[in-house]
């Protein structure tokens, strides 16, 4: 195993466990930020430079800020420790471990550790951008429409009151919608 994989793997697993186990949602959110930055580092280690930067900009910079924003606005109490029962937890753990073992065995068989052959592709901005605007142009445009729809939908959902016809004063505080 390579060194970045060990270090990043330990960081990622620890922070993911932190998200699940932290009592306070804000602590979970901060653990998730560490996790997402760690994933960006994994992308960088895998030569996906563009994705590493976009990961930080989109996930750490936009999505998680929005989540923390909402957590701060809602002032949620700490969750009392009422996770699922012990029996269910053990069951979930066993299922998870089984899943991990099965997929890991398959992965090791399918993709054995071997010397790399051929050209290594680097996910530079130019390469990814060229692919996005040629082969994947239609999905890219559709993604734009999806984002637009999500923006409008979020603004509508987060409004406190819907302005009725003839009711000009209630504009609604759409601060959450603006935050995105």
């Amino acid at each position: 195993m390579s060194l970045p994989l060990i270090v990043l793997g330990a960081l990622l697993i620890a922070s993911a466990l932190g998200v699940v186990l932290a009592q306070n949602p804000i602590h979970s959110a901060l653990c998730l930020v560490v996790n997402l930055v760690g994933v960006a580092c994994v992308f960088a280690a895998l030569d996906a430079h563009f994705l590493a930067m976009v990961q930080i900009i989109v996930y750490a910079g936009a999505i998680m800020v929005l989540v923390i924003f909402v957590l701060m606005l809602l002032t949620i109490k700490e969750e009392e420790r009422r996770l699922a029962g012990l029996f269910q937890l053990i069951g979930a753990g066993c299922m998870g471990a089984f899943f991990v073992v099965v997929v890991s065995r398959e992965a090791l068989q399918q993709f054995p550790v071997e010397q790399r052959t051929g050209e290594s592709v680097v996910g530079s901005v130019e390469a990814v951008g060229r692919l996005l605007y040629t082969n994947y142009l239609l999905p890219f445009e559709a993604a734009g429409i999806l984002i637009m729809a999500a923006l409008v939908g979020a603004a509508m959902l987060a409004k406190t009151s819907y302005p009725r016809s003839g009711d000009a004063t209630s504009s609604g505080s759409a601060i959450e919608g603006e935050g995105k």
């Binding site: 930067m53 976009v54 930080i56 900009i57 910079g61 701060m72 530079s124 995105k180």
Partner: protein, 383 residues
């Protein structure tokens, strides 16, 4: 191994430059604000150091000192000290820092100490990290090895700047939340909404710049502006380049949460905004981060629009160490000029209202930058 040591040395140098720029901004803020408000400003600390006085008061220590040490070392050193004190440098850099270091480190009730300390850390960390991708001088060839004065030679420098800008929100949010206080929370909400809003215009301006230069590498962007002054970013595809510069300047003022955009810390409404509950060195760290941000935005402006280390109509020889030194001096001169300009604006203009701030960001800068991008793209297509 050599590469690792080189990176450490470069990181150390750039760290020192960052701190130096931040200190300079602090001093300009103190003395410049005094100048603007017709005050004298800091001029006392350190002005009372005379060798003769010391000899009188502290005979035991200084009597053994020979005539030579007194006159060659102490007298000039004290003279420099007095001069620095009279222009306020000692006060802003030495006295304030020591005062902050010895103050009580106050942590409000009901928050964890770790989270409270994380706030100022996260306010400073992304700004300092962003300096890693900035080339501070042209390449130097020493002993057949080319040295590039850039810590992280990554091809996606512009995106890295954007990423660090988007991470900077966390410091503010954490500080506001751990303050456990209405004022801090309101300040943090205002700050994060403001930063996210202005980031959009910043991203689109960056896209326009990348469209023009055709690269994300900051070193190449500076290299492309060498030669004639018309190669500078401000003049590209007139007027799009100049509009980019204006938008980025306004966005920079808003992102540093200063100047007319300092609603998050507006002292007349919220005590000090998101860092109300911080004292001592943690409080000072927020200021350090703010001044480092001013320096960073000045650097970004001079890299993108004013040619970095390029001197118009003057080609410096490539690879010579003295050329690199001159280039670095020119670069820093541009950066300092922009820093002074930002601080002057901060002390000149009155504060915006919150709705004015939001409508400036969303209804003016964002559409303007989008139109600018489209015009630049059309121009690029035609030419």
């Amino acid at each position: 191994m050599n590469a690792v040591i080189g990176i450490f040395i470069k990181g150390f140098i750039i760290q020192q430059i960052t701190l130096g720029l931040a200190s300079f901004c602090t001093w300009v803020e103190r003395k410049g604000s005094a100048l603007i408000q017709d005050r004298v400003g800091a001029n006392r600390a350190g002005t009372n150091f005379f060798v003769g006085d010391l000899l009188k008061t502290d005979v035991l220590v200084l009597q053994p000192l020979s005539f030579l040490a007194r006159n060659i070392v102490l007298r000039p050193a004290f003279a420099v000290f007095r001069f620095l004190g009279s222009i306020g440098v000692i006060n802003t850099l030495l006295n304030d820092a020591f005062k902050a270091l010895f103050k009580e480190d106050f942590v409000p009730e009901g928050t964890s100490v770790f989270m409270h300390a994380l706030g100022p850390f996260m306010a400073v960390f992304p700004v300092f990290l962003a300096f890693a991708v900035i080339p501070i001088a042209p390449d130097v060839t020493l002993f057949d090895t080319t040295i590039r004065f850039q810590v992280a030679e990554i091809s996606t420098g512009v995106l890295f700047l954007l990423a660090m800008g988007s991470i900077a929100v966390y410091g503010v949010v954490l500080a506001g939340w751990t303050g456990n206080n209405k004022f801090s929370l309101l300040g943090a909400l205002r700050a994060s909404a403001q930063m996210i809003s202005y980031e959009l215009a910043m991203g689109i301006v960056f896209a326009t710049i990348v469209l023009h230069f055709g690269t994300f590498d900051l070193y190449q962007i500076i290299e492309m502006q060498s030669g004639s002054i018309l190669n500078w970013g401000v003049f590209f595809m007139f007027p799009t380049g100049f509009l980019c510069f204006l938008i980025l300047f306004v966005v920079g003022m808003a992102e540093t949460k200063r100047g007319p955009f300092d609603l998050p810390e507006s002292e007349s409404e919220l005590v000090a905004g998101y860092f109300t509950e911080y004292s001592g060195m943690k409080f000072l760290l927020f200021w350090l981060g703010e001044f480092a941000e001013i320096a960073l935005f000045s650097i970004v402006l001079s890299v993108f629009f004013f040619g970095g280390w390029n001197i118009p109509f003057l080609e410096l020889p490539e690879g010579a160490w003295w050329a690199a030194l001159i280039g670095h001096g020119v670069f820093m001169g541009k950066v300092l000029a922009f820093s002074v300009l930002q601080i002057t604006i901060r002390w000149t203009l009155p504060r915006f209202r919150y709705d004015q701030l939001m409508s400036l960001g969303w209804k003016m800068l964002l559409p303007l930058s989008i139109v600018n991008l489209i015009v630049a793209a059309a121009w690029k297509l035609v030419s």
